[in-house]
C-alpha cells in the first residue's frame, strides 16, 4: 500500500516537473510547479515530516508560487520565442540524462541503503512541531537568527531594486 502511494506521488512529481519545463505558457508552468510541490508534500508526510509538509504547502506552494504568478501577470508575458543557440537544448538534455546515470549508480550502491525504519521504530513525536520548535530555538538558534536577517535583507533589497528611478541601467 505504502509503495503505491510513493509511486503515485513520485510519478505525479516527475511528470509535472517534466511538463513544466516543456510548457511554453508561464502560467501553466507555475501551476505545474505547484503540483510538484504538493506531491512532494505528500512524500514528506509519508516520511513522518508533518511540519515540513505543512510549510511546503503554505510557504512554497502558497506564498512563493503566488509571487511568481503576480510577477508573470504584472509583466503580461507572452509565450517565449525560439532561442539563438540551437545546440544548447539537445546538448543540455543529453548531459543531464548522462549525469543522472552515475548519480543513480552511486545511490544504488549506497551501503546504508536499507529500508527506512517505520515511525513506530523511531521516537514518538518525530517530525512534529514540538520537536522542530525546540530544535529551532535551542541547537539552531543562531542559523534561525541569520535566516531572519537574510529575509530582512531580501525585503530591503527587493524594495530598493524595484523602486522607480533609483536603479537604472543605461543601455
Amino acid at each position: 500500500m505504502e509503495l503505491y502511494f510513493f509511486l503515485f506521488f513520485a510519478v505525479v512529481a516527475v511528470a509535472s516537473s517534466v511538463a513544466m519545463i516543456l510548457q511554453r505558457n508561464p502560467i501553466y508552468c507555475v501551476l505545474l510547479l505547484i503540483m510538484v510541490m504538493i506531491s512532494i508534500a505528500g512524500l514528506y508526510l509519508m516520511l513522518d515530516a508533518q511540519f515540513v509538509a505543512i510549510i511546503q504547502v503554505v510557504v512554497y506552494a502558497g506564498a512563493i508560487m503566488v509571487l511568481f504568478l503576480f510577477v508573470i501577470m504584472l509583466l503580461n508575458l507572452s509565450r517565449e520565442e525560439g532561442g539563438a543557440f540551437r545546440i544548447q537544448k539537445p546538448l543540455a538534455v543529453l548531459l543531464t540524462v548522462l549525469l543522472f546515470l552515475p548519480v543513480a549508480a552511486m545511490v544504488m550502491s549506497y551501503a546504508g541503503g536499507g529500508t527506512t525504519p517505520s515511525a513506530d521504530g523511531g521516537q514518538t513525536g518525530f517530525g512534529e512541531v514540538e520537536q522542530i520548535g525546540s530544535l529551532l530555538f535551542t541547537k539552531y538558534l543562531l542559523p534561525v537568527e541569520i535566516a531572519a536577517v537574510l529575509l530582512l535583507i531580501a525585503i530591503v533589497g527587493a524594495v530598493v531594486l524595484t523602486r522607480k528611478g533609483t536603479v537604472s541601467v543605461d543601455d
Binding site: 548531459l95 543531464t96 548522462l98 549525469l99 552515475p102 552511486m106
Partner: protein, 641 residues
C-alpha cells in the same frame, strides 16, 4: 705608551667614513672637500703614530699582525680581516696618506668650481680606503679586495667627466685592460691556496719551497701579470695614457703616485715567492726594462703634457720592476717613494698650468698641448720652480730624490744583468731629454700666447700652490733617506728600515766602491747630456729636429708604436664583430624572437578561446554541468581510479 696598533683599523676606515658622509649626508660642494681632507689628514696622523711606534721596536720585531675580525671560515679556508704592520706596509701607508693628503688639498683648489665635486671627493676618499686596504692587508684576499677597489675607483675617476665620450671610453678601457691582469691575479691566488693551503702572507711565505716548486713559476708569473695590468707594463700599458682623461689630481694620485705602484708593492711583498723562480725574476726584469725604454721612447715626441707624464710614469714603473727583477726590492720601493713625490708634483704642476690656460686660451685651443704653451715661467713662478725641482729629480741629477733611487736600480742592474743596465742607462738619457723638453716647451722659450691671453694667465691659488711647494721640498731632500754607503757610511736609513722585510734574500754581490762611483758619474753625465740635448733643440732651436721628423723612428714614437691600432685590429675589432653577431643573432633573433613568438602564441590562443565567453548565462551553466559530470564520472570510477 699607548698601543696605536690596536687602532690601526681606523686608518682605512676614516676615508671610507668620509666617502659615506659625502655621499649620503652632504650636498654642499664647499664642505665636501673639507670632509675628505679631514678624513685623510686624521688617517695620515694615525699612520705617523704607527710609524713612530714601529721604529720604537727592536728591528727584529717590526712585523705586527692586527686581526680585526674573522672574515671567512669555510672548512680549511679561513681568512681574517687583519692588517700587517711592517716596514714595507708602513712605507706604503705613509706614501699613500701623505701624498694623498697633499693631493686632496690640491683638489679643493682644482675641483672646487666643478658642479660635481661632492661626487669627486667621495670617489677620492673611497679610493684612499681601497688603497689602504690593499697595502695594509695581511693576506692575499684582502689585498685583492683593495686591488679591485682601486680599480673601480680608477674607473670611476677616469670617467669622472662622463659626459665626454672620450672620458667614458678611457674609463672603460682602463677597466677592461685591468680585468686581464686581475683575472691572472686571481688565478695566481687560487694556485697559492691550492698548494700552500692558506692565503695569509706569513703562512704562504713560510711554506716549504719544495711544496710550491712545481707551480712556483706559474704562481709568480700569474701574480706578475696582475701587476702588469695594474702598473701598466708592456703590453698592458695602453690604458694609462688614456687614463689622462680624468681630472689632473686624479692622474697625480692614482695614475702616478699610488695605484699604479700597487703592482710594485705586490711584487715586493711576494719577494719570497718571486726569488724561488729564476724564470719569473728574469721575466720581471726584462718586462720592466723593456717597458722603461719603450715608454720613454714614446714620451720623446708626445705633445699632450699629461701624456708625456703618463708615458714617463709607465717608464719609471718599468724601472721599479727592473729593480725587483734583479733582486733589488729595496731599490724598487725606494724609487716608488721618490717617484711618488716628484711625479705627483709634476702632475700637479701640469694641472696648475692647464688650470691657468683653460681660462686664458681663446678660440678653443687645447690647454694640454705643449705647442700652445711656452714662456710661462715668468707668469707662474712657483709652479715653474717646483716643476723644475721635480724635473731635476726625475732626470736623476744629484742630489735630488730621483738620483739616489735610480742610481741604486742601475747599480743592481749592472751587477746582475749588464744588458738591462745598458737599457736602463739609455732610458735615463731619454728621461732627462723628454722631461726637460716638457719643461722648456712649457716654461721656457718664447710665449705662444697673445697679449690678451697673457693677461689672464696667473699663478694658481694658495691652496694649490702649498702642496706643490711641500712636494717640491720632498722631491729635493727625499733622497737623503737612502744615501748609499759609498757616499756616506751608515746613512742608508731607508734600506736599514726595510731590511727586516727583505732579510731572507740571498746576499747580492757588492761591486767595489770605485766601480760604484764610476757608475754614478756616468749616470750623471748621461743625464746631463740628455738635458743639454733638450736645451739645444728646444731653447736654442737646433735644426736636428726638423731633419728627424720625417723619419720612421720619429713616426713610430709619435704613433706610440701603433700599439692601440694593433690591438684594435687583432683583438678589439674581432671581439666587436663577435659581439655584434651575438647581439643580432643570439639576442635579437633567438632570444627576443622566442619571447615574441611565445607572446604571439598566447595572444593567438586567447583570440580563439575568448569566444567561449559568450555572455549567455546558460552556456556557463552548461559548462558547470559538464564539470559535474566529470566529477561524478571520476567518483564512480569511469574516469581514473
Amino acid at each position: 705608551m699607548t698601543d696605536t696598533f690596536s687602532y690601526v683599523w681606523l686608518i682605512p676606515l676614516l676615508p671610507l667614513l668620509g666617502a659615506f658622509i659625502n655621499v649620503f649626508c652632504n650636498r654642499n660642494p664647499r664642505v665636501s672637500g673639507m670632509i675628505a681632507c679631514a678624513a685623510v689628514a686624521v688617517s695620515f696622523l694615525l699612520v705617523l703614530a704607527v710609524f713612530f711606534q714601529l721604529i720604537g721596536l727592536p728591528a727584529g720585531e717590526r712585523s705586527v699582525d692586527v686581526v680585526v675580525y674573522s672574515w671567512i671560515t669555510a672548512g680549511t679556508f679561513a681568512v681574517d680581516v687583519a692588517f700587517l704592520i711592517d716596514p714595507l706596509s708602513t712605507v706604503m701607508m705613509l706614501v699613500v696618506t701623505g701624498v694623498g693628503l697633499l693631493i686632496h688639498v690640491y683638489s679643493i683648489g682644482y675641483m672646487g668650481k666643478d658642479t660635481c665635486c661632492v661626487r669627486y671627493f667621495s670617489y677620492l676618499n673611497l679610493f684612499m680606503f681601497a688603497m689602504l686596504i690593499l697595502v695594509m692587508g695581511n693576506n692575499f684576499l684582502l689585498m685583492f679586495v683593495g686591488w679591485e677597489g682601486v680599480g673601480l675607483c680608477s674607473y670611476l675617476l677616469i670617467g669622472f667627466w662622463c659626459e665626454r665620450q672620450s672620458a667614458a671610453n678611457a674609463g672603460m678601457k682602463a677597466f677592461v685592460v685591468n680585468r686581464i691582469g686581475d683575472f691572472a691575479f686571481i688565478l695566481g691566488l687560487l694556485l697559492i691556496f691550492l698548494y700552500a693551503g692558506s692565503l695569509t702572507y706569513a703562512d704562504v711565505f713560510a711554506t716549504d719551497p719544495a711544496v710550491l716548486a712545481p707551480v712556483i713559476t706559474a704562481i709568480t708569473l700569474l701574480l706578475f701579470i696582475g701587476a702588469m695590468g695594474k702598473s701598466a707594463q708592456v703590453p698592458l700599458h695602453v690604458w694609462l695614457p688614456d687614463a689622462m682623461e680624468g681630472p689632473t689630481p686624479v692622474s697625480a694620485l692614482i695614475h702616478a703616485a699610488t695605484m699604479v705602484t700597487a703592482g710594485v708593492y705586490m711584487v715586493a711583498r711576494c719577494h719570497a715567492l718571486f726569488v724561488q723562480s729564476a724564470t719569473a725574476m728574469t721575466v720581471v726584469a726584462v718586462i720592466g726594462a723593456v717597458t722603461a725604454i719603450f715608454a720613454a721612447y714614446i714620451a720623446l715626441t708626445q705633445y699632450d703634457i699629461k701624456r708625456v707624464l703618463a708615458y714617463s710614469t709607465v717608464s719609471q714603473l718599468g724601472y721599479m720592476f727592473l729593480a725587483c727583477g734583479v733582486g733589488y726590492f729595496t731599490a724598487g720601493i725606494f724609487h716608488l717613494v721618490t717617484h711618488a713625490f716628484f711625479k705627483a708634483l709634476l702632475f700637479m704642476g701640469a694641472g696648475s698650468v692647464i688650470h691657468a690656460l683653460e681660462h686664458a686660451l681663446e678660440d678653443g685651443r687645447d690647454p694640454q698641448d705643449l705647442r700652445n704653451m711656452g714662456g710661462l715661467g715668468g707668469l707662474m713662478p712657483v709652479t715653474y720652480k717646483s716643476m723644475l725641482l721635480a724635473t731635476l729629480a726625475i732626470a736623476g741629477i744629484a742630489p735630488f730624490a730621483g738620483f739616489f733611487s735610480k742610481d741604486l736600480i742601475l747599480l743592481g742592474a749592472f751587477v746582475n744583468a749588464p744588458v738591462l743596465w745598458v737599457v736602463g742607462l739609455a732610458t735615463a738619457v731619454m728621461t732627462a731629454f723628454y722631461m726637460f723638453r716638457l719643461l722648456f716647451m712649457t716654461f721656457g722659450g718664447k710665449t705662444r700666447l697673445n697679449a690678451q691671453e697673457r693677461e689672464k694667465v696667473h699663478e694658481s691659488s694658495r691652496v694649490m700652490v702649498i702642496p706643490l711647494v711641500l712636494l717640491a721640498i720632498l722631491s729635493t731632500v727625499g733622497g737623503f733617506i737612502g744615501i748609499p754607503h759609498v757616499l756616506a757610511d751608515g746613512m742608508d736609513r731607508f734600506g736599514g728600515f726595510l731590511a727586516p722585510v727583505f732579510s731572507g734574500l740571498p746576499e747580492a754581490p757588492v761591486p767595489s766602491s770605485s766601480v760604484e762611483l764610476t757608475l754614478m758619474v756616468l749616470t750623471l753625465l748621461l743625464a746631463g747630456a740628455g738635458i743639454w740635448g733638450a736645451y739645444a733643440v728646444y731653447i736654442r732651436g737646433n735644426a736636428v729636429l726638423d731633419r728627424l721628423v720625417p723619419s720612421a723612428l720619429y713616426t713610430l714614437s709619435l704613433r706610440k708604436f701603433y700599439v692601440d691600432e694593433i690591438y684594435e685590429a687583432l683583438i678589439v675589432g674581432p671581439l666587436r664583430k663577435i659581439a655584434w653577431g651575438f647581439w643580432r643573432i643570439v639576442d635579437t633573433a633567438i632570444i627576443d624572437g622566442g619571447l615574441t613568438l611565445a607572446a604571439l602564441t598566447v595572444r593567438g590562443l586567447g583570440n580563439v578561446i575568448r569566444y567561449t565567453q559568450t555572455g549567455v548565462v546558460q552556456n556557463y551553466a552548461l559548462i558547470m554541468v559538464i564539470g559535474a559530470l566529470a566529477v561524478f564520472a571520476y567518483l564512480t570510477g569511469y574516469l581514473g581510479p
